[in-house]
Every structure is written in C-alpha cells, then in structure tokens.
Symmetry: C2
Subunit: 192 residues, 2 copies
C-alpha cells in the first residue's frame, strides 16, 4: 500500500535492526484518514470471502480493525490481554509467549461472540514472530469458526511469523512488508 | 443520542446498581456503524471549538475517538496505561486512582504530540468517578494545551465524575446520561 509505505518512510524511525517505531501514526498517535484507507484496503482484499466478524487484539489493532469493520459492515471484537470489569462470560483463552518480556500472557474473548457459523478476519498492526496472530487464530479455531485470513498493517518479513502462518495454510495479507531494518533504513520486500 | 440509547436498552445488561455491561457493542465487540455515528455526534458538538487533537485512553476509548478524529480530520492520541515497546520518549504522566482495584496507575503520553498550541478534545467510553478523565485533562494541562471539552459515550450521572468535571469548568458532552441502574433497569437522565 503506497500511502502506508510513504508514511513509514517519512515518519517511521528505525530504532534498531529489529524494531521500527511508528508512534506518530499507528502505535500512540493515530492518523484517522490513513486508518480509514487501511480499512478500505483490508476490505478490498477480503470482500469476497464471506467474512462475518473481525477479530483483533488491544490496543494498536483496534483502529485499523474498526475501519475495516466499517467498510465490510461487520462487527469487530478485540481480544483482551488483561482482566476487564465486564468481560466475565464463558471465555475462549489462548496463551501468547513474548520473547521480549520473557513471559506468557493469556488472551481472551467471550464465547458468545463466536460460533462455527462465523468466518473471521484477523487484523493486527505488526506481524513479527507471529505469536499474537497464532493466538487469535487459536481462539477462532476453538470456536470452530473459519479463519478467512490475517490482515496485517506492517509485516517484518525478516522475522519468522509470516512464513510460519503461511506454512500453516493461513492467508496473510500485509499492507507493507519490510525485508530489512539494517543500517537504520527501512527496506520493503520488493526493493531488494 | 437516540441510536445509542436504543442500543443500550436493547443490548445493555445491568449487572448491578453501579455497572452497565455493554460488551456487545462498545467494550469487547464493537459496532463500527454505531462508532461512526458517535464520532459524527462528537464532531458536531465540538466542530466550532478549533480542536487540533483528540486524546483518549486505551482500550475502549480508541474506537469512538478514531471515528471522531476522522470526522474532524485531526490526529488522535491514546494514552497508555502500561509500558509499550516504543513509547520511550519524554513523557507526560499522571496518576489515576482506581476505587475498584484499590490501586493507583500511571497513564502516559509522549510530549512530542502535544504543545501549548493544541486544543484538545478528550474522549472516553464511560464516565463514572471521573479519575481517567481528570488524568487525561492533567496530561493536556501539563502540555499547556487548551482543553476544548470532554466527550463521553456513556455517563453514569449518579456517580460524581460528571459533576466534578463540570464544577472544575470542563465542558462535558455525553452521548447518553444514565440517572439510575437500580432494579436492573437503565434510566436515562431526561426520563426521571
Ligand atoms: N512499533 C513496533 N512494535 C512492534 C514491532 N515488533 C513487534 N512489535 C510489537 O511489540 C509488542 C511486543 O510483543 P511481544 O508479545 O512482547 O512479542 P515478542 O515475542 O516479539 O517479544 C507487540 O505489541 P502489542 O502487544 O500488540 O502492543 P499494543 O501496541 O497493541 O498495545 C507487537 O505488536 C516493531 O518493529 N515496531
Ligand atoms: N462496562 C462498564 N465499564 C465501566 C462502568 N463504570 C466504569 N467502567 C470502566 O471500568 C473500568 C474501571 O475503572 P477504574 O479505574 O477501576 O475505576 P473506579 O475508580 O471506578 O473503580 C474503566 O475501564 P477502562 O479502564 O477504561 O477499560 P478499557 O475497557 O478501556 O480497557 C471504566 O471505564 C460501567 O458501568 N460499565
């Protein structure tokens, strides 16, 4: 997605070889117009897949996901990483390991929002080692729902998540795919 | 806002005299069309106030805030309640006490997204005791920014937050104001 790649080039900051900072338009400050365009792009790629619900995870996945839900005119659910005052129903849960924090967290969704009749589009902001995406797919699988695919804003293609998801048969659609963050430079997959 | 009040009557669940559960359209599953309408309503109420940025807090504030930002065509920042991988800049921080959890949490925003030239619209999903709203206003005040007002989706008017914010001179615009949750019934402020 050219608009996104331009924004990454203009405003993204390469913190180190593994981390791209995009706090000015995705992870802290958000650009609503760009979010709407990303929602349209996800909707375009998945409009023929019979998607009935979008599943994302708090917090940075919410904005792109709600815009995609608006375009596809379907509900959007965000998985919780921590306790919430009113999320007390029967839950599906999945464990997600964090390399950075060296800890395992539990993500949860309410069972009542998913059924075997649902076709789920998973959306998240970053795809790195893929643990969050696999966790969300696991929640959908526990509900016996169909996973239409995984929509990602920025995929770090030099990390294994994307390959591992695709090897498992998931369709992964990334709006930007980064091949390298070496030398403080963002390289996108086509521009080897 | 009639559409919101209808949704609350149809899908809201009164858990007890103090808590309304709206997990099916705000706090877990989100209704994108309703979110867009709420964004339009916030924009309508604040369009003449020269708002330059919207400030909300993760997680449930993000969807209504991004939709209001889309309508007003301005950036939206969500304050963090916990550490984030890339939120490492100079920060404004504020302490927010939770009666329920009996603990004080720190909320943070990056200093670089706020200046004295900004006019901030604060948006959040619930207004109860007002601690989160006061915390967000404190962040804006630390930046010497102007607070145009506080946009709330659901105000529990039987709790003190709204009165306390208004007594401090803040303009509080709530899309629905609840006077009581007694007898498992939602009563809105006009219908005494
Ligand atoms: N900006 C940025 N973030 C990255 C990058 N790579 C991964 N992340 C994010 O970092 C967070 C850390 O994820 P971990 O679960 O600790 O993953 P790990 O196994 O890779 O260490 C995740 O945010 P999260 O839990 O989804 O947080 P939130 O923003 O949704 O609250 C993930 O999206 C990157 O290059 N840049
Ligand atoms: N559904 C629902 N929620 C209510 C109600 N009253 C307050 N809340 C939410 O409960 C959470 C608890 O806030 P606390 O900070 O512990 O507040 P407290 O002083 O009132 O105990 C807040 O969610 P949060 O921290 O903003 O969580 P998040 O959803 O944004 O992640 C607040 O918005 C209610 O009647 N119904």
């Amino acid at each position: 997605m050219e608009l996104l790649k331009k924004k990454i080039r203009d405003e993204g900051m390469v913190l180190n070889e593994h981390v791209l900072k995009v706090d000015s338009f995705i992870n802290h400050q958000m650009d609503p117009v760009l979010m709407k365009e990303m929602g349209k792009e996800f909707a375009k790629r998945f409009k023929d897949n019979g998607v009935t619900k979008i599943l994302t995870i708090e917090s940075s996945g919410i904005a792109p996901a709600i815009m995609a839900g608006l375009e596809l005119d379907i509900p959007v659910i965000f998985a919780r990483k921590k306790k919430s005052l009113t999320l007390t129903d029967d839950l599906y849960t999945s464990k997600v390991y964090s390399f950075t924090k060296k800890e395992t967290n539990t993500i949860t969704v309410s069972r009542k929002f998913f059924s075997e009749d649902d076709t789920i589009l998973i959306i998240d902001d970053f795809l790195a080692n893929g643990h969050a995406a696999f966790g969300l797919a696991d929640l959908a699988n526990q509900a016996s729902a169909t996973v239409a695919g995984i929509g990602i804003v920025i995929e770090k293609a030099f990390q294994p998540g994307g390959d591992e998801l695709r090897a498992r048969g998931y369709r992964v659609e990334s709006l930007a795919r980064i091949s390298s963050l070496k030398h403080k430079t963002v390289k996108f997959v086509e521009e080897q």
